[in-house]
């Protein structure tokens, strides 16, 4: 496993009675990245996250997290991983301070650092004013934040969150997105599953699409695709069939095309994009706009699913 890989999964297979939940799943997650795990219900997202967190044992395959063989050393994995389940519980009669203190001590935080760690975690999640409140008296959003605090209080190298924003109001979601961005900037690797793609789009650096237990796409979300950069082309006047001429250029693939505009995928760096622009102009096309395009997660997910359904 390379040093820059936080998670490496290879040939993972997991079966429930009569159902294959994960089928030959392989991917790597770079250290310091935020991977959005997306897919329809029943795709195997939760099962995959539980396998990575060493909570469920796959039938076949290998998983390494922060250099640890998860199947061989699950307890060592737990020390390096924080996990928030989609169905989590809190000790309702304990105060928030007690919940966080217990989570910290149970995950090996030093006793001398305990009070400071608890307060810092509460500040991060904006629940300082709730430290003396009982967990059972909190709103759903506040409980969610306490649960996230419990998962990250020991500063794990890898944080795995299954639907962390469910139940949060828009303000809390925004705060959560800022928190994840800050954790990433501090070097933490995050893997987040959610159905709220707009929220994932705010902080994710990579997208992993799971469908029927298989990985159908895994790539960065910076507009770069595995085959190149998305580029939007606008024409001053409609030109019928322009995309066929554009598609004939070496290193260019047409993603979408209408008479007056389209989206191309250009292989190579910005110099290659400049060459393609020159080529389009040389072909006599009235190019009025030519710019690299960032595709949001929602569009990206839907396009990936469409492409897989109609290859």
């Amino acid at each position: 496993m390379l040093a820059e890989q936080a998670i490496a999964v290879e040939g993972l297979q997991f079966d429930y009675p009569g159902v294959r939940a994960l089928d030959d799943v392989s991917f790597t997650v770079a250290r310091g990245s935020v991977t959005a795990l997306v897919g329809p219900n029943g795709a195997g997202k939760t099962t995959l996250l539980r396998c990575i967190a060493a909570l469920d044992r796959p039938m076949l395959g290998a998983i390494r997290v922060a250099g640890i063989d998860v199947l061989e050393e699950p307890r060592a994995c737990h020390r390096r991983v924080g996990f928030l389940s989609d169905i989590y519980g809190l000790y309702d009669t304990l105060t928030v301070r007690q919940c966080l203190t217990h989570a910290a001590r149970a995950n090996g935080v030093d006793a001398t650092a305990l009070p400071r760690t608890v307060v810092q975690t509460a500040e991060r999640l904006d629940i300082t004013d709730k430290l003396e409140a009982r967990a059972g008296e909190l709103s759903r959003g506040q409980r969610q934040r306490v649960a996230i605090g419990q998962a990250l209080i020991h500063a794990p190298q890898v944080l795995i969150l299954d639907e962390p924003a469910s139940g949060l109001d828009p303000e809390a979601r925004y705060a959560l997105a800022r928190l994840f961005t800050r954790l990433q900037s501090e070097g933490m690797t995050l893997m987040v599953s959610s159905h709220i793609l707009a929220e994932l789009d705010e902080y994710s650096t990579h997208m992993l699409v799971l469908r029927a237990g298989k990985v159908i796409e895994h790539r960065p979300l910076d507009g770069l695709m595995s085959t190149g950069q998305r580029v939007r082309v606008d024409l001053a006047v409609p030109v019928v069939g322009w995309h066929e001429r554009a598609g004939a250029i070496a290193g260019v693939r047409v993603l979408q095309a209408e008479a007056h505009a389209g989206v191309l995928v250009v292989a190579g760096d910005i110099t290659a994009q400049a060459a393609v622009l020159k080529h389009l102009v040389d072909l006599g096309l009235p190019v009025a706009g030519f710019h690299a395009e960032h595709e949001n997660l929602h569009d990206s997910y839907l396009r990936t699913v469409r492409e897989r359904q109609n290859p």
Binding site: A53, L55, R75, H78, R79, V81, G82, F83, S85, I87, Y88, G89, L90, Y91, D92, T93, L94, Q98, H102, A103, R105, A106, N107, G108, Q150, H154
Partner: protein, 142 residues
């Protein structure tokens, strides 16, 4: 302190419960004292022993058994599995912590039994109490 034991102590002991246990036991012992002849301590001592068996053998054993199933019901089991606490520390922390409130009441009962131990009962009181505690511990461990 073992984090699992500490968590259980937090859960088991509130000020309300700390006060309620001796209050309830006091009422039971008062009833036993009033229900027997004034010159006899047998009723109070017997009541104390019965309460001890009930608190440790029934309530305590039930709390010990529930210490794991409650984690499933309250959806906290994943958190327990993710913790860095070793299996042995987790086991004794749960066992001692979940039964701690039952033991609090049981030891209060033994204190009363020791105070009123009838002189005509031939068995030495210290040995009887030691035997009772060992038997209760065996039940919980089992």
């Amino acid at each position: 302190m073992n984090p699992e034991l500490k968590r259980n102590l937090w859960l088991e002991f509130s000020l309300h419960r700390l006060v309620a246990m001796p209050a309830v036991l006091g009422l039971v012992f008062l009833g036993a004292a009033l229900g027997t002849r004034p010159e006899s301590d047998v009723g109070v001592a017997t009541t104390g022993l019965i309460l001890f068996v009930g608190l440790t053998g029934v309530w305590g054993a039930r709390r010990a058994a529930e210490s794991v199933t409650e984690e499933f019901h309250s959806k906290t089991w994943d958190g327990q599995r993710m913790s860095a606490i070793g299996p042995w520390a987790m086991t004794w922390g749960k066992l001692a912590g979940s039964t701690s409130f039952a033991w609090y009441g049981a030891l209060l009962c033994l204190a009363v039994v020791a105070a009123v131990w009838p002189r005509h009962w031939q068995y030495p009181v210290d040995e009887a109490i030691a035997l009772a505690i060992c038997a209760a511990l065996c039940v919980h461990w089992h």
